[in-house]
């Protein structure tokens, strides 16, 4: 019983970190219909900025997270204005080619500016070390990641389902021309959504840095995992992404505990089964 609980808590923590980083990608892919392979690169930029703010400028952890999110959005604004705006509605291949190109540029620049070594984000005293949860100890930081993940899920759901911005976003996505005809400034809606997606990527990169350390190849190294989460969850669905992250986190963690020699076999087996049964993902909407 203790083992089951213990594995479950690891699974929850890993799943939440996956969720925080992948949800932004789910927004760009599902709501904006852009296959954004540079998503990992934005998460990495967030990680670098947080590390720079906390380590080199000596700012607090909360300030570092804030700088990561705002800084990454500021970097992303000209990219959206001059590059992404050209590929909204373009064929997937064009989107893939351009965003992978952006990724390689960002990797090169990160390598040049920050060097090839690992960067860490020093944690505040309260998040450092381990917390005793009764039957075992767990890194305090993971509890923090779980909380952040839950908060993001609730806030995003409210934003998309309950606010007027959410209504305009959904209208723009479903029928851009009609929404524009009715007076919705679709360009602004897209720009704002892109900023939110990038900001979430940056927050995920910074919060998840304990698990996925920041280095120049971060941008490509974990991209497959993020894409898998989005395709399993059904792109554009917040609940779907949450469910997919938790499910994949659970499968991966349990597989790793009971049969580490099988590697990621169970992870990808689950992916194949889910995609076969739900081709649009667990909560995918009809196109």
């Amino acid at each position: 019983m203790q083992t089951v609980l213990s594995v479950a808590i690891d699974a929850l923590a890993y799943g939440m970190v996956l969720f925080v980083i992948s949800i932004g990608l789910s927004i760009t892919m599902g709501l904006m219909r852009v296959v954004n392979l540079a998503h990992g690169a934005f998460a990495m930029i967030g990680g670098y900025l947080a590390s720079y703010a906390a380590r080199d400028l000596g700012l607090g952890y909360a300030a570092a997270l804030l700088i990561a999110v705002i800084g990454t959005i500021i970097i992303a604004i000209p990219l959206e204005r001059f590059l992404y705006r050209r590929i909204y509605g373009a064929p997937e291949l064009t989107q893939v080619l351009m965003t992978i190109g952006i990724t390689f540029c960002i990797i090169g620049i990160a390598n040049f500016v920050f060097g090839p070594t690992l960067k860490t984000i020093p944690l505040p005293e309260t998040l450092r070390g381990a917390t005793d949860v009764g039957f075992r100890t767990i890194a305090t930081h993971r509890i923090f990641a779980i909380a952040i993940g839950a908060a993001i899920a609730v806030l995003l759901w409210c934003l998309v389902e309950k606010t007027s911005y959410g209504i305009r976003l959904r209208a723009s996505v479903d029928n851009s021309a009609m929404a524009a005809a009715l007076g919705v400034r679709t360009e602004l809606v897209y720009a704002a959504s892109f900023a939110i997606a990038v900001g979430l990527a940056a927050l995920g990169g910074a919060v998840g840095a304990e698990l996925l350390p920041v280095e120049p190849y971060y941008a490509l190294r974990y991209m497959v995992t993020f894409l898998v989460v989005v395709s399993i969850g059904g792109s554009g669905s917040i609940g779907g992404a949450l469910l997919a992250s938790l499910l994949l986190g659970a499968i991966d963690t349990t597989g790793r505990y009971f049969a580490p020699e099988y590697g990621e076999f169970f992870f990808y087996l689950a992916v194949i089964v889910i995609v076969a049964v739900f081709p649009r993902g667990l909560a995918g909407r009809r196109a």
Binding site: T117, T120, T137, T253, P260
Partner: protein
């Protein structure tokens, strides 16, 4: 007017011919050394260390051996890619006419190039790739780095001496990881210990907590780990601390790949007290190392990036210079390799010898502990195992 132009053309032609003749008649030759390594991509840091080691050697000793000038030709191979490595080696030998091949970070890359050596009449100096079998694939291979068997074996002795009898091994599931597992098991069980469980982790593992739980449940007194240097080592060490294994008193044993100097600033506090065995620590205390670190730090730019591949490259250059000396700059692989068999010198890492039978480097393996020195972390040497050969050679499948 026309006559003047003809005159000019004629003199120009003569000058050209004279220059060309002078060129061939010169006494000194330029000897090219082809270096293959990861100079871009995820392992660029290791390639950068190759270059720093080579540049350091050239800065200290000059680029001349006798009258001959050494020229280094670099070729980039971002990730392990045997086919590309072979193509690059071929290009270096045929088109660039290099007399020596060197570098090689990954075993498959080195293995792919060894079949070319005999026909090309070119010796290969392996500056990193750490699988025992490489030296057996061609009589023209000399290695100045280490093997995983060589750095792992003394750790088993350390574990037994500290009273540990039950160990669980966790290694990355690929060649060197399996080497580490076999080496540790062989040495540890010979000393009367028991490996209770051997876990192989996929290279892409990011979250190690479930594995640490497994370690806890196995009832082992210590864990022996092997992971290649790089991002996952950070998560691994963190998981060891955060899941309470450290406070539960389960010892952490590993090879120095896990605590390479360029990763230590990131590992920081978490790594303090970790015991590893390895052939080189940047903080090694000797005049030779002091000179090396000074030159290599200058070459690499940021001293915090300096790590073990640099010393393999530095010593590799020493071996190549001895080969050039012995052959007088002529291309003769047989004579060159013969000349360095049994070569003994004091490397920045300590006393070393090229073993005449295996052509692998015999060296001191150190037990080190991660400790804080001023404001940065070092691998502090606490014990040394002298004159260690490569025990892995006995296990190479013939």
């Amino acid at each position: 007017m026309i006559g003047f132009r003809e005159d000019m053309m004629k003199s120009l032609f003569l000058t050209t011919v004279a220059c060309a003749m002078l060129g061939t008649a010169a006494f000194a030759d330029t000897i090219k050394v082809g270096v293959i390594g990861p100079f871009s991509g995820p392992f660029a840091l290791q390639g950068k260390n190759f270059k720093a080691g080579i540049d350091a050697w050239l800065a200290v000793n000059g680029n001349k051996v006798g009258d001959d000038e050494i020229e280094i030709v670099y070729r980039d191979i971002p990730a392990a890619d045997p086919a590309k490595s072979k193509a690059l080696a071929q290009e270096l030998v045929v088109r660039e006419k290099v007399q020596y091949l060197a570098g090689f970070y990954f075993t498959p890359d080195a293995m792919a190039a060894t079949p070319l050596l005999q026909q090309g009449n070119v010796p290969m100096v392996v500056m990193n790739a750490a699988t025992s079998a490489i030296v057996t694939t061609s009589p023209y291979v000399v290695r100045t780095s280490f093997t995983t068997w060589q750095t792992t074996t003394p750790m088993a002795t350390v574990a037994r001496e500290s009273g540990v009898s039950k160990v669980i091994t966790l290694v990355s599931d690929y060649g060197p990881g399996i080497d580490a597992e076999s080496a540790f098991k062989a040495a540890f069980e010979k000393d009367g210990g028991k490996v209770v469980e051997a876990i192989r982790m996929p290279l892409s593992t990011n979250d190690f907590s479930p594995l640490m739980q497994r370690v806890k449940d196995s009832g082992a007194e210590a864990l022996f780990a092997f992971l290649p240097s790089g991002p996952p080592t950070l998560a691994f060490v963190k998981a060891y601390n955060d899941t309470g294994l450290k406070t539960a008193g389960i010892k952490f044993l590993a090879t120095g790949d896990l605590t390479q100097e360029s990763d230590l600033p990131a590992l920081g506090e978490q790594a303090t007290g970790l015991m590893t065995t390895f052939h080189y620590a940047v903080s090694h205390d000797s005049p030779e190392n002091k000179a090396f670190v000074e030159a290599a730090s200058k070459a690499i730019g940021n001293p915090a990036e300096l790590s073990f591949p640099a010393v393999g490259a530095y010593d590799g250059m020493y071996v190549i210079s001895k080969m050039i000396e012995a052959t007088g700059g002529e291309q003769n692989a047989d004579q060159a390799v013969e000349a360095v068999k049994g070569l003994t010198w004091t490397s920045p890492r300590g006393p070393v010898t090229i073993d005449p039978d295996s052509r692998h480097i015999t060296q001191t393996i150190y037990l080190r502990e991660v400790a804080k020195d001023g404001d940065h972390y070092i691998n502090k040497e606490v014990k040394s195992f002298e004159k260690q050969g490569d025990p892995g050679l006995a296990h190479v499948k013939k």
